[in-house]
Each structure stands twice: as structure tokens, then as C-alpha cells.
């Protein structure tokens, strides 16, 4: 936890540094009609650095360093995260419906070890239901791919 706290504080300080840098570029003082664009973000950045330094000092003084995450826990988190990331990449090529069908099917089979019948029913049924709710009922378009084009949508 201590290490994670220190790393987070360092990342936030770096981010605040970027904010201050860009604010100075656009101007932090008084413009022709009031404060410049950089005025508000500049002071936010300054307070942020101060607060993060104090957090880092607090963390540094703490003697215990319990691990941020157990290896087993991290594995189950990554099991959700990397297929989700892969699905988002896939979405750009095959659209949201096909990608989510593959993602749900993969997760249910690989993590849940559900029967193929369940996997197929939910993996295909849910995207089809979503398709009708969003595309035809509420007219909110989702990313579509070759399959939808082939079907005429």
C-alpha cells in the first residue's frame, strides 16, 4: 500500500506539473477581459502538488507496507480486464454487438466454465436483444461492423 501510495502521489504530481506548464503557456494572469484561461488550472495544479507532497510524506512515515494486491487477486482482476480491452480493440473492426458476443462467450466459457448451450444462448441472445432496444427502439446507434452491413443495417 505504501509503495502504491507513493507511486500514485508521484504520478499525480507529474500530472499537476503538466497542468501548470500548459497553464503558464496560455497565461495565468489578467487578460483583456478578466482572468486568462490558465488562471484556474494553474492554481489547481499548485494546490495539487502541495497536497500530493503531504500525502507522500504521510505514506513515507507509515512503517507497515502491506501489499497493494495479492497475486491471486491481481490474476482475477486481469482476467476481467484484458479480455475487456481485447473486446474494445475488436469493436473497432467488427462492431459492438459481435465484439460483446465474443467477449461474453469467452468469459463465460473460460472463467465460468459454463456449458456451451448457456454460453451460446446468452452470448448471442443478449447482443440481439440490445440491438433491438438501441438501434430500433431508442434509435441510439452503436458501432457496427461487416456483419451488420451484410444484414442490411
Amino acid at each position: 500500500m505504501r509503495t502504491a501510495d507513493l507511486i500514485t502521489a508521484a504520478v499525480l504530481i507529474a500530472g499537476a506539473g503538466l497542468v501548470i506548464f500548459d497553464s503558464v503557456r496560455v497565461g495565468i494572469g489578467w487578460g483583456t477581459d478578466g482572468p486568462n484561461s490558465g488562471f484556474f488550472p494553474f492554481w489547481l495544479g499548485v494546490i495539487m502538488i502541495a497536497a500530493c507532497l503531504l500525502i507522500a510524506i504521510q505514506a513515507w512515515r507509515r512503517s507497515t507496507n502491506t501489499p497493494f494486491v495479492q497475486p491471486a487477486q491481481l490474476r482475477s482482476v486481469l482476467k476481467v480486464l484484458w479480455p475487456a480491452t481485447a473486446a474494445v480493440v475488436l469493436m473497432q473492426f467488427v462492431g459492438l454487438y459481435v465484439a460483446s458476443a465474443l467477449y461474453m462467450g469467452f468469459y463465460m466459457r473460460w472463467v465460468g466454465r459454463h456449458r456451451w448451450v448457456t454460453v451460446a444462448a446468452i452470448g448471442i441472445g443478449v447482443p440481439i436483444a440490445t440491438f433491438f432496444v438501441f438501434e430500433t427502439w431508442f434509435l441510439v446507434p452503436m458501432p457496427k461492423g461487416p456483419l451488420e452491413t451484410w444484414l442490411g443495417y
Binding site: G38, P41, G45, F68, V111, H114
Partner: protein, 506 residues
């Protein structure tokens, strides 16, 4: 003056379509409240895109009904599964789960829903009378007063939010900074885009809510390796009626819980402390304090009454001042802007049919809600028996759809994933997420109020102290900001032991 307006509101809220919308909202809301990883705030965020084509009154009724449903849903998981769906349901588990283990789950659930209803109803009545008065006062507010109120909102997260006050402060700053990214509307300048065209649009808070609360929460719950060991529901009409016969005995607890809830609730982050405070008071004044924690019905009544009174009271500053008291109210405020309404006190003058329709729908929504959850408990509890490996990818997909629908842009789904990881890390490191979201929503408003105030005063910060109303509010805000520094010093002075850290509102 309030009553004919309320009648007008009922005229708008009680149409077949709006009642249908309320029923749909409550059903979805309860499901969302029951599911791990989906709570009121991101449920409302995910459904927001579906309301773009609706008339504003129906749209807000859908979203508020969803919120009531989510509030009710939290009680179901707390009592049957010992899993508090929301932080303000934690106190409900203390006596609710033991009751369920003793086979009294029907009684506990009936008590919880009835208490929620009573607390909510109390707050709605107060809102009906106070909202127009508060809006009338707020009409006289200028930019310095609005900035002072914003300051007060955020100071109460730092001073009263529990947890590490520095981390609350950092969360607020991150929210404000993210809100500032992109085009500055006042000067037309681009800031903090570093040459990336994707950053020009800035960060949408809806995407942030879905990522931080939705995806982040899912990651946390898979890490904990969720397993549901549920008690059976045991609900039927007999149990409901029998419990209703006992409940009037606890009228003192109801009254106390309602007042605590309303008082704590209209300030941000009030629902969780209100529920704990109400529980503590009920225990202290009880003739059998030793029964608390082992399955005392009063221990369910007290926190549920207060939490719902607070949850409803959070709507008061949202309607009257345009400043939300909770992340869910913040998302609704974002909805108002998208539907083309200007949140703030003028809404009472310009759109009375909308405001009073909303207030009237709070009555109908809560009455419908309590009936629906009482009847539907077995159905809602069955949702948690769906295997986790099916629920998890389903929730992730629902989140992705919600994030994409806001602007029809792929980059938002990526932001959602990133916010999800950030939410997971922040939650583990005790950085609160609610102030971040609120700051992201209010960022532009706060910055504009600050700039206009400074223009009025030629750049002097004294304007926040010299105007009487702004000065008083700023003084309270500064007191709250200083509270984490003052409290330990004061305790040492009085020779008291250091306080245990308070539980954190998400």
C-alpha cells in the same frame, strides 16, 4: 402557494406514459441496486442517452425512479446476502442479515422498505415546501454567492467526508482539472490538449461515472472473489401486514431518522453518516440496546429511514441551486443541461411544469416503488443467483454501451476502461470518487462563477468575504476545510483520545 403548484405537478406526473416510465425506472433501478458494480449513479448515467429523445419531464421521471429503485435495491442485498450494495446500506446489514438468518427476512425486508418509504416521504414533503423558498432566495444570488456555495459543497467533502482529507482534496482537484481540459468557452483558447485533437472535447463526466463506479466496482468485486450465500426471501402478504402492525411502535425512531436524514442529506456525502448516526441514536435510546446487532427490527428501521430521507434530500440543492448533493444528482443535473434546461433557481420561474412535475413524481415514484419492491422481492433476489461469470461480462458490456452512447465515440469506451482502472486503484488507496465526479460536473460552472466574481471585483478575492451572504457561506466553507486540522488539535486540548477514522462515503 405551494399546493396549487403541486397540483399542477401531479397533472404532469400522473399521465399513463409517465406512470409507465416510472414503473420501468423503478424496475431497472432495483435491478441495478441489487447487482454488484452497478449503483444509482452509473445506472442513471448509462440510461441517460436513452432519454435524449423524451420530453424532459418524462426523462427526469425515468431517472429519478431509477434512483428510488436503486435505493430500495440496496436494502435487498444487505438483508438477504449481507452485501451492502451502497455505502449507506452498511448499517442495514448489522441487524438485517441476522434477522434473515433467523428466518425473519420477510419481516426485515418489509421493515426496510417501509422505513425507506417513510424517510423518503418525509423529505419529499419538506422539499415541496422548502424548495420554492430556497429558489426564491437563490434568485438574488450573484456569481460570488454561487462560487461560495460550490466552495461549501467541496469543503464538506474534505471536512465531513471521513477518510483522509488530503485525498478528498486531491480528488476534487483532479475533477476540476479534467473539467478544464479542452476548449475554454470564455476565451476560446485550447488548454491542456497538448496537440491531441481527441482531448479538445474534454472529458465527459458520464463516461467518468460509468468507468469509475461501474468498471472500477466490478474490478473490486472480482478481486474480493464474490460469492453469494443468500437467505431465502420468505415474503408474503401475511408477513407484510403483520410487520406493519409492529412498526408503529418505532415511531420515535422513524421521526428521529427522518430528521437526521434530511438534515445530513442536503449536504453532499450525507447519506452514509446519516444512516450510521440514526443507528447509533436508536441503539442509545433503546430499552434493549444489547439486542442491536443480533437481529433487532429497530436496527433496520433506523438506518433505512435516515438513508432514504438523506437520499431524497440530496435532490433539494440540485433543483433549487443547480448544485448536486450526490453523484447521482450530479448525473441528473448533467441530464438537465443535455435536455436544454438551465439548472438553478430560475427553473422554478421558467419551467414550473418541469420542476413541479419532478416533485410530484417523487411522491408517485416512492409510492409505486414501495409497492413494487414489496411484491417483487423474490424476483429481484433471484438476480443475485445468476452466476458471477455471466453477470461480470454482462455488466462490462452494459457499461461500454452507456459510455459509447453519450457522444457516439469510440474514444469514450477507452476512457471508460482507463477510468475503471483509476477507480479501482483510487478506491483501494482511499481516494474518494464522489467529489471527483462532482468537481468534473461543476468544473465549468465553478470556474465561470470565480471568473465573473473576480471581474466584478477587479481581481480581488475580498469579494467572497465582503458580500454578506457570500461571506457567511465562505466562512463556513473555510471552517470545514480547516476541520481536519482543528479536530485533532481540539481533542488534544480537551484531553480526548484520537478519533477513529470515520467510514468513507464513495
Amino acid at each position: 402557494m405551494g399546493l396549487e403548484n403541486l397540483a399542477l405537478g401531479f397533472h404532469h406526473a400522473v399521465t399513463p406514459f409517465n406512470l409507465f416510465v416510472a414503473v420501468v425506472g423503478i424496475t431497472l433501478g432495483t435491478i441495478i441496486g441489487v447487482l454488484p458494480g452497478l449503483g444509482g449513479a452509473n445506472g442513471v448515467a448509462i440510461l441517460l442517452p436513452l432519454t435524449f429523445t423524451m420530453p424532459p419531464t418524462s426523462a427526469i421521471i425515468l431517472l429519478t425512479s431509477l434512483y428510488w429503485g436503486a435505493l430500495f435495491g440496496g436494502a435487498i442485498t444487505s438483508i438477504l446476502f449481507n452485501i451492502p450494495g451502497e455505502p449507506w446500506s452498511v448499517a442495514t446489514t448489522f441487524d438485517g442479515y441476522p434477522l434473515a438468518r433467523q428466518g425473519q427476512s420477510g419481516q426485515a425486508l418489509t421493515a426496510a422498505f417501509t422505513s425507506s418509504f417513510v424517510g423518503a416521504f418525509f423529505s419529499i414533503v419538506l422539499i415541496t415546501f422548502f424548495a420554492p423558498i430556497l429558489a426564491e432566495i437563490a434568485l438574488k444570488f450573484g456569481p460570488p454567492e454561487f462560487f461560495a456555495i460550490q466552495l461549501l459543497t467541496f469543503s464538506s467533502f474534505v471536512g465531513l467526508g471521513g477518510g483522509n482529507p488530503l485525498k478528498s482534496l486531491v480528488s476534487i482537484l483532479i475533477g476540476f482539472i479534467l473539467a478544464a481540459v479542452g476548449l475554454d468557452i470564455v476565451t476560446g483558447q485550447l488548454r491542456m490538449t497538448f496537440g491531441f485533437t481527441d482531448l479538445m472535447k474534454g472529458f465527459d463526466f458520464i463516461v467518468a461515472v460509468i468507468g469509475l463506479f461501474g468498471v472500477g466496482e466490478i474490478l473490486l468485486s472480482v478481486e474480493e472473489g464474490l460469492a453469494f450465500h443468500g437467505a431465502t426471501t420468505g415474503m408474503n402478504l401475511r408477513v407484510v401486514l403483520d410487520t406493519w402492525k409492529i412498526l408503529p411502535r418505532y415511531w420515535r425512531t422513524f421521526v428521529r431518522g427522518s430528521f437526521i436524514g434530511f438534515w445530513m442529506g442536503f449536504k453532499p456525502g450525507g447519506a452514509t453518516p446519516a444512516s450510521f448516526m440514526s443507528y447509533a441514536f436508536a441503539k442509545r435510546f433503546s430499552r434493549h440496546p444489547e439486542r442491536f446487532g443480533k437481529g433487532e427490527l429497530e436496527g433496520v428501521v433506523a438506518p433505512e429511514t435516515a438513508a432514504h430521507a438523506a437520499g431524497v434530500a440530496a435532490m433539494l440543492p440540485m433543483i433549487t441551486l443547480g448544485i448536486p448533493g450526490s453523484p447521482t444528482a450530479a448525473v441528473m443535473l448533467g441530464g438537465l443541461i443535455i435536455w436544454g434546461l438551465q439548472p438553478g433557481p430560475l427553473l422554478f420561474k421558467e419551467k414550473p411544469d418541469f420542476v413541479w412535475g419532478l416533485i410530484a413524481s417523487m411522491y408517485t415514484g416512492n409510492i409505486l416503488g414501495v409497492i413494487m419492491v414489496l411484491a417483487g422481492v423474490p424476483f429481484f433476489a433471484a438476480i443475485l443467483r445468476v452466476p458471477f461469470a455471466i453477470l461480470t461480462p454482462l455488466i462490462v458490456v452494459v457499461c461500454a454501451i452507456g459510455a459509447y452512447a453519450v457522444h457516439s465515440s469510440m474514444i469514450d469506451i477507452w476512457y471508460m476502461l482507463i477510468f475503471g482502472v483509476v477507480g479501482y486503484v483510487f478506491k483501494k488507496l482511499d481516494y474518494p470518487l464522489a467529489p471527483l465526479v462532482l468537481a468534473l460536473v461543476l468544473g465549468d460552472l465553478a470556474e465561470n462563477a470565480l471568473r465573473q466574481s473576480l471581474i466584478m471585483s477587479q481581481g480581488s478575492l475580498a469579494i467572497f468575504f465582503t458580500r454578506p451572504i457570500a461571506g457567511a457561506i465562505t466562512a463556513v466553507a473555510i471552517f470545514f476545510f480547516a476541520l481536519p486540522v482543528i479536530t485533532p488539535w481540539w481533542r488534544r486540548l480537551r484531553g480526548l483520545p484520537a478519533a477513529a477514522p470515520a467510514p468513507r462515503e464513495t
